[in-house]
């Protein structure tokens, strides 16, 4: 399936892997942004953590930075601060974003960093052969928890709602159309956007049937955080779509830098000399 958004890299995801759904939905969303909103793919930059999810960086023919395990959300914020004119998407695994690098996820949401975070949430460390993750259910058996995980899982949606994320959504890798739509909305959202994608791992945690029987479309976001929290607590049915969105919240780069875009407006050598001379004079 080579196309103009796919590199020559050999695809090594397992056949049937939920990552294919995320990959295809994301490419569809990029094309939709190009067609409907005139946003060039040159201005859509990507970053990824480390794990099966992150191979998407090699497969997508887009610019960006293949980061470290858990640090992709920090990398993404640095990229956005450098040039607020671009759209930055961080792909992360549940181990990356909820384990190794949870601080960056929480703070990116807290400060309303204008980036999109897409979690490939399969509840398992696939690339390291099946250990439990922060979203694995209690009792999950993997090589590091042979008698079952002794921990309760995190609820990613509730976590993000509680720290003030301005766009919180859930998708399912098996529903391409709905997932495309959520990605498209997330990238268009001004401010921090979070998409938790339920994703089966066919080798170590095949949740395909379970999710297929439980997901149901959420037609539109609810209007309060409290309602969104209640939706996030549902376990019989798993709503997918945008849970909560609040617009017009100032973004972090606006609050820190105003309208300064350092790439295009950096001070010249001579301006810097002048400022330094003035400061030295004041210290005399």
């Amino acid at each position: 399936m080579p196309d103009d958004l796919t590199t020559y890299a050999e695809n090594t995801w397992c056949p049937g892997c939920g990552n294919f759904g995320i990959f295809n939905a994301f490419k569809n969303a990029v094309r939709r942004l190009e067609q409907e909103d005139g946003i060039s793919r040159n201005n859509i930059l990507i970053t990824a953590g480390i794990g099966c999810h992150a191979k998407i960086f090699d497969y997508l023919d887009l610019s960006g930075f293949y980061s470290l395990h858990g640090r992709e959300i920090a990398t993404a914020q640095g990229m956005k601060l450098a040039n607020p004119a671009v759209t930055v998407v961080a792909f992360a695994g549940d181990g990356d974003a909820f384990g190794e690098g949870i601080e960056h996820l929480i703070f990116a949401a807290k400060r309303n960093a204008d980036i999109t975070v897409i979690i490939h949430d399969n509840g398992v460390y696939g690339l390291t052969t099946g250990q439990f993750t922060p979203t694995s259910p209690e009792g999950f058996r993997g090589p590091s928890t042979p008698f079952g995980s002794p921990e309760e899982p995190l609820n990613p949606i509730k976590l993000m709602l509680s720290v003030g994320a301005s766009f919180v959504a859930r998708g399912f890798s098996g529903k391409l159309k709905e997932l495309t739509d959520v990605f498209y909305q997330a990238m268009k959202h001004k401010g921090f956007s979070f998409v938790d994608v339920l994703q089966p791992c066919v080798s170590f945690n095949d949740t395909y049937k379970l999710y297929n029987s439980k997901v149901e479309n959420l037609p539109q976001p609810v209007s309060t955080v409290e309602e969104a929290m209640k939706l996030a607590e549902q376990t019989e049915k798993l709503p997918i779509g945008v849970f909560y969105q609040v617009e017009q919240v100032p973004t972090y780069h606006e609050r820190l830098l105003g309208d300064l875009n350092i790439v295009s407006q950096r001070a010249s050598k001579e301006q810097r000399w002048e400022s330094i001379r003035t400061l030295l004079q004041q210290s005399t």
Binding site: T47, F65, S67, M79, L257, I262, V263, R272, T284
Partner: protein, 557 residues
Amino acid sequence: MEKELFTFIAGGTAGAGIRKAGAVAGYIFTRMGRRVFEMEDYQSLIKGGHNFAVVSSATYPIKSHYMKADLVVATDKRSYDMHKEHLRDGGVMVFNSDAMKDETVPNGGIGIPFTTISRKYTNSELRLGVGAITVLAVSIGMSKDELADVIRTQYRDAENNINFAMEIYDAAAPQLFGKFTLKKTDEKPLPMISGNETISLGAVAGGLDFFFSYPMTPASSILHFLAAHAKEFQIGVMHPESELAAINMALGAASMGLKTMVASSGGGMALMEEAFSLSGMAEVPVLAVLGSRPGPSTGVPTYTEQGDLRFAINQGHGEFPRVVASPYSMEEAFYLAAEMLGLVQEFQTLGILLTEKHLEESRMTVDIDPTKASWAEPIMYQGGDEKYLRYKITEDGISPLLFPPSDQVIKFTSYEHDEYGVSTEDPQIIAKMHEKRARKQETIVRKLMQMHTVNVFGHGGPVIFTYGSTTMSVLEALHCANLEATVVQPIYLEPFPTWEFEKFKNVSPIVVEQSVMGAFETLIKEKTGIKAKASIRKYDGRPFDPEELAQQIKEAI
């Protein structure tokens, strides 16, 4: 007799305005055309404890404070106890008589009821520093008007401070007025700033765009200074959630074309280490300032040491080129920060500016010309390839840069990769990329060979090897003891400028450093084969005192 060298110590609890008093004393001395070096000794606490500022000034370019003072103002008992041994012949101790009521005070001390007088004013404790400045002014024969002018320009709440100062003035003048006559010069007053300020200004002069840092003493004042002046410089300054965030954001921003810097002390640098290795692999430049405190672990936060040398040159897992350098003075720190920012851009890798609390937080008079700072320019892609290759194999190991957004796809990556930036496990490509980065190391060495990488001070006499701010202590020690020696200080420590040491291969130097295990001495031996004749090491967290060091050097000769 007019004094060429004069040292003033002010001591008191944290919160008594002692640090400010050190700065104001410096202001007074620079107004007399004198050079100043000020060292602040403070503890890791906010209130209480013991702080003191040592301000030495001279008519020549002084490079260290002296622990033997001409005038000590002890605003509490603890200061008195600590500094009564710090008076030189003819020195005067002025103590707080309110704090010493039940104590036997030896001859020669002058008691002033600082506390009683200060209690007539609000924020009485904070005014003790003003009291210390007043005593200094009296002792060097300043008039009340001159003192009032100083307070007006240097302190808030000037009216109350001036009233308070005048009461102290009257109490001190009968015994102390004009006790010391300081030699003046016609030199223009020079700015007196800290090493952290010169590092910050140097980075800005060199092209710094964005600074990311999580607070950690003694590096925090870089963050404070740059944050305060970010708007003037049109740069970004961010204090994120952790050092991990700081360095990864810095690399993300650098991948977009910004010149970025981070700073911390040992613990924070250790947290950043995985990302330093990422800088090496992804070939994304970043400059990191490592400000040493006595270690290991949390160590002693507000004191000085040079125990991080090996840590600095060995940052990051895996093999990749990097540049490590350490400035000897506040002025050199300015030019070096700019130069290193340029080197990391040119070679797309990690640079570490290694320094110590003693340089970062001491203040001295500096003569800086911003137009002489180098300006960082990366080597940019000029087109010509069918597709842009981020990791193009080149002879010198440098793959020209291009930054997003672009109509070309630009892939930076932490995995081993092909030229395009796609992950690889191919044995031939792995080897080729390793070799490309290794060639960059050789290119860096060729570049350094054209640069000024080692300072040599003086000529003749015994040879002394040292580095970092300890160099200032050595130079001042030689000056005060009137000793002739050749002092060799490598500015660059990685790649190590071995070629500059050829001419010293037959000497047996004295090695001076602030380290218990002799990290510098063993590095010199490993890199150059030169064995030390004698080692002078200090590792109690305090910088060398020039007179004590001179004695040690004499014994070593």
